[in-house]
């Protein structure tokens, strides 16, 4: 949360219950898993718990995620079971389109766009503050450098 540390702490202190399971997000078709499914047509954004694509990770594909709070890191490694929200340190965009990670929930605030197959060994704008993401379309309101 851009302004309120209290909110961040509140979000983080929620006990992680289904540590190794995918917890379904409210939105209908959001999908995540321990491996990619490129047939979804969005490609796959893989977020890692640690920098340099280390530690536990989760793939996202199929639709946007307005709030990472419902998701945990799934593969074995450091951070497994921890909520993805505000905890992703690196990423690879295996998508056939750009992917934008936002600093705040619901696609708000500063953001980082990862272009085709881009690797972010340390998420620049969103390091440990990633809160939502969107598979890019021509309508994305984020810079591409």
């Amino acid at each position: 949360m851009a302004f309120s540390r209290a909110r961040v702490i509140a979000a983080l202190s929620v006990p992680v219950t289904a540590a190794t399971l995918l917890v379904a997000a409210p939105s209908a078709s959001a999908a995540a898993g321990a491996s990619c499914d490129a047939s979804a047509g969005t490609g796959c954004l893989r977020l890692y718990y640690n920098s340099n694509r280390q530690g536990s990770s989760t793939y996202f594909y199929g639709s946007n995620v307005s709030n990472f709070a419902s998701y945990t890191f799934l593969t074995s490694g450091a951070g497994k079971g921890v909520t993805v929200k505000n905890n992703a340190a690196s990423a690879i965009n295996d998508a056939n389109s750009s992917t934008t990670i936002f600093y705040n929930s619901n696609y708000g605030g500063a953001c980082d766009t990862l272009t085709f197959y881009a690797i972010a060994d340390q998420l620049r704008n969103t390091y440990n503050n990633n809160a939502s993401f969107k598979f890019d379309t021509s309508g994305s309101s984020c810079y591409k450098f």
């Binding site: 949360m1 851009a2 302004f3 309120s4 540390r5 909110r7 961040v8 409210p26 939105s27 209908a28 078709s29 491996s35 990619c36 499914d37 490129a38 047939s39 979804a40 047509g41 969005t42 490609g43 796959c44 640690n50 793939y59 639709s63 946007n64 307005s66 709030n67 709070a69 905890n87 340190a89 295996d94 056939n96 936002f102 600093y103 705040n104 929930s105 619901n106 696609y107 708000g108 605030g109 500063a110 980082d112 272009t115 085709f116 197959y117 620049r124 704008n125 390091y127 440990n128 503050n129 809160a131 379309t137 021509s138 309508g139 994305s140 309101s141 984020c142 810079y143 591409k144 450098f145």
Partner: protein, 310 residues
């Protein structure tokens, strides 16, 4: 130590921390009154709307009117590059002996800007805090397993297998297309600088005394109407509004959000402060940013050569 401390915060109850804004370079107008909803239009870049023409979603664009936007790929450049990648993908698929025609996503207008939270009164009234709906589009619908694996590579999680004799690129034909176009037109260090400016300017803007004061007044305005939020990003991220449906309360909150932003001139104040901050940051890295822009121009030109456009 994984977690960094959050570099900025506005404590909602901190009361009058009214420091006089000696923050360098902030030359924006005093912000009381005024029509904040017009803020996105008043300094419009060429092509942006006046009072009439363009779509509402374009007229509240702050992100792409900030100074650093000059160093981002433009929508037109992105379209050129996307079209070239489609052509290169089709060539690659042909080489593999697989018939394939790239499918274009239906065009969509840019969603209204959310850098400073909600920015469109019209969207607030129609969608609350939700993004405007758009038709789902899966470019891969109905494609065969072999075609999908050829497009994305053997390790892309496609169920099934493709003929082992097929010489499929590691990241598939889409990956090969993107990489080949990118190969001679990359400047990651410059992109890092530009991206860093876009991040730091946002963080500094949040600390700007005028922004903090406007945020405090916005928060007070919301409280008067029965909504308790420390800042506009907290309202945008309210978990009650992230579900699929749009509730009446959500729409009412979003409308109050925009009315309070207009009343206290929040969007205009924030945009003005961040503009001044970015100008200083950009002035410190002129050569790198100029080179980045050149690289973008040359990649888009290479893309147009592939497609035969222009």
């Amino acid at each position: 130590m994984k977690r960094k401390s959050f570099p900025f915060r506005v404590v909602a109850a901190s009361g009058f921390v009214l420091s006089i804004g000696l923050l360098a370079g902030c030359s924006g107008p005093a912000e009381s009154g005024g029509n904040d909803a017009d803020a996105g239009r008043t300094n419009a870049s060429p092509g942006a709307a006046g009072s009439g023409g363009a779509s509402p979603s374009a007229s509240e664009d702050f992100t792409f009117r900030l100074p650093i936007a000059e160093y981002s790929y433009t929508e037109a450049q992105n379209a050129d590059i996307g079209a070239a990648e489609d052509v290169l993908t089709e060539r690659c698929m042909k080489r593999l002996g697989l018939p394939y025609t790239a499918r274009k996503a239906p065009g969509v207008s840019r969603a209204s800007d959310r850098r400073y939270g909600l920015s469109s009164a019209e969207d607030a009234a129609r969608y609350g805090y939700h993004l405007p709906p758009k038709a789902s589009f899966n470019p891969n619908k109905g494609l065969s397993t072999t075609t999908l694996i050829a497009l994305y590579g053997r390790s892309a999680g496609i169920d099934g297998e493709a003929d082992p004799a097929l010489d499929i690129p590691a990241r598939g034909c889409r990956g090969e297309a993107a990489e080949s176009l990118d190969a001679d037109h990359r400047y990651p260090a410059g992109a890092e600088i530009a991206s860093g400016i876009a991040r730091r300017s946002y963080q500094e803007s949040v600390e700007d005394s005028r922004v903090r004061e406007a945020v405090r007044r916005w928060s007070d305005c919301m409280t008067e109407r029965g909504y308790t939020y420390s800042d506009p990003l907290a309202a945008l991220g309210d978990e009650r509004f992230l579900d699929k449906g749009i509730s009446k309360r959500e729409v009412e909150t979003a409308r109050a959000d925009m009315e309070c932003k207009t009343r206290v001139g929040l969007l205009r104040t924030w945009f003005s402060a961040e503009t001044a901050i970015q100008k200083k940051m950009i002035a410190a890295e002129p050569a790198e940013l100029a080179k980045l822009k050149e690289v973008h121009t040359s990649k888009a030109a290479a893309a147009r050569e592939v497609t035969g456009r222009d």
